[in-house]
Symmetry: C2
Subunit: 315 residues, 2 copies
């Protein structure tokens, strides 16, 4: 069974969709068998805090603390802080819950005490009982800037949360990427892992920042391991988030085929939903068509198992 095969699997993940598959993988593979490399391009400095939305989404998901009603943030949340901040005239468009604030303040304190983001993340995930490694893609500052078709340059969270993805995108910039070093723990895993999974995250803003880090694509190529991406687009729709809208605005067909083409020669195999089975013929790679919409925990585990079996098949 693939879930007990020798060696580590490394999974690249960004937002909510990626975290769902990551959770499924974490149920099948031990902390010695899988680690997660997480996008930090949508991190931002806000109200004196360092906010890492993708790290936090994965952290809360793995700790069974994610707010499934809202689709973001922490479960059983209260909102006294942000309501009061609004009354004081402070910036309240980024809805920070009272419990969620504890994580952000703790991160601030740990960073101020000299820990890097990777160490901070290890401290926080350990405190929440998470045994799997959650690895920020870099300890340096990389900030995704959304250049819009009207010429604005929006920090990612301003585009994503404040403006609710309304502006039409023209291109993305990963500010700071040229001088950012990939997390050494990720490079180390790439040297020894048996496979790389690109979770069903937004290719442009959740996965590309990591792939754009200096030396990252070369390190993946050198590893020689199977690289499997799971499409976040099903039937032309992004299961969550603005990926499909972005593709339309960028003039790319909003299909799983475009996702496969986007990752170009990086991939060994591609996973798309059974609803899109007809598209497999247009993808110049081994494909797996499977039920990829993850509504329940069983769905997550099932997709994880399918992906791991696919890896075995390709290895």
């Amino acid at each position: 069974m693939s879930s007990t095969a020798e060696g580590q699997v490394l999974a690249i993940t960004g937002g909510v969709g990626g975290a769902k598959l990551a959770l499924g993988l974490s149920k099948l593979l031990t902390p010695d068998q899988i680690s997660f490399a997480v996008n930090t391009g949508d991190d931002f400095d806000h109200l004196g805090l360092h906010i890492s939305p993708d790290i936090d989404t994965l952290t809360y998901t793995l700790a069974a603390l994610s707010n499934t009603e809202l689709g973001w943030g922490r479960a059983d949340e209260t909102w006294q802080f942000i309501e009061t901040l609004g009354q004081l005239g402070g910036e309240n468009w980024f809805r920070l819950g009272d419990k969620d604030m504890a994580l952000h303040i703790h991160r601030r304190a740990l960073l101020d005490a000299g820990q890097n983001l990777s160490e901070v993340t290890a401290t926080i995930t350990a405190a929440l009982g998470i045994k799997h490694q959650v690895l920020p893609m870099t300890n340096d500052s990389v900030r995704t800037i959304v250049h819009t078709q009207t010429g604005d340059a929006l920090p990612f969270q301003h585009y994503f949360v404040r403006d609710q993805c309304a502006p039409a995108v023209a291109r993305f910039e990963f500010s700071g990427i040229e001088t950012a070093a990939p997390n050494p723990l990720i490079l180390q895993q790439l040297e020894t892992c048996r496979a790389l999974i690109i979770c069903p995250s937004n290719p442009f803003v959740s996965v590309d920042p990591l792939l754009s880090l200096p030396g990252m694509r070369a390190a993946i190529a050198e590893s020689g391991v199977p690289v499997i991406a799971v499409s976040p687009i099903v039937s032309g729709i992004a299961i969550k988030g603005p990926a499909a809208k972005m593709m339309s605005e960028l003039g790319v067909p909003n299909t799983a085929v475009s996702v496969a083409e986007h990752y170009d020669d990086l991939l060994t195999g591609f996973v798309l939903d059974e609803q899109d089975a007809a598209l497999a013929a247009d993808i110049n790679l081994p494909t797996l068509c499977t039920q990829s919409v993850m509504r329940t925990l069983d769905d997550r585990v099932q997709l994880a198992q399918s992906v791991l079996d696919f890896i075995t098949e390709l290895s």
Copy 2:
């Protein structure tokens, strides 16, 4: 009636007792007639925040938002943030409420945006509907350090909140005081005011930091106005806080007389509680003996009126 006399009154205040009299004064005098100069010696940098306990105590008191049950913090408070921070392993001995956090985060954001502490305080008090000026004693960093009899040097909040005033004090240090500039708005008021009131605050840690600012005592002396202090010690007991305990540890009788002597030649008159009327003979100043324990809002206003009448008498 004194409350309508010409010119400004300036009141120096620190913690809870001072804020009570300040509230009474604010009910009798308009924002054109009284301002408040506030201790910042017990400010501290904590969890990436700039916390100003004495400014906040006065702010919440004037805004009718103070937590009268706890005796500190904000009314109708909830504690999700600090509970969660504790679960994450963060420092949770300084109990920051969810609503209170909004003020601290807003201050952090305004300071980061380039406002000085005085401007930040004006922004926050205005947002809470406070019309009277709340003036931090300085915009520079002054930090009260408690030197204990066992040789420790504790930042004030560690002594006051974390260690609950248990260590015996030997002396106080106001770190940064030599290079701190008094708030120019306070110096300006001293040039034109008609009287200075030292509220019933802790002489050592709430009032001395302000009086120790370079040029402050000289500016008070040059103003030539009546300077009236109200004793925070009644019947040998501090109404609130560690003043009496400190006096014992410093080898000073814990009486109103010691408070009057502590302020030395600064004073024109001294207000002590009617319970301590017998001590008036030992004070080498005009005195007013009155009911000074402020349980109700009426008590606060009554004491304020008595102090203002006493000023008129001495002017």
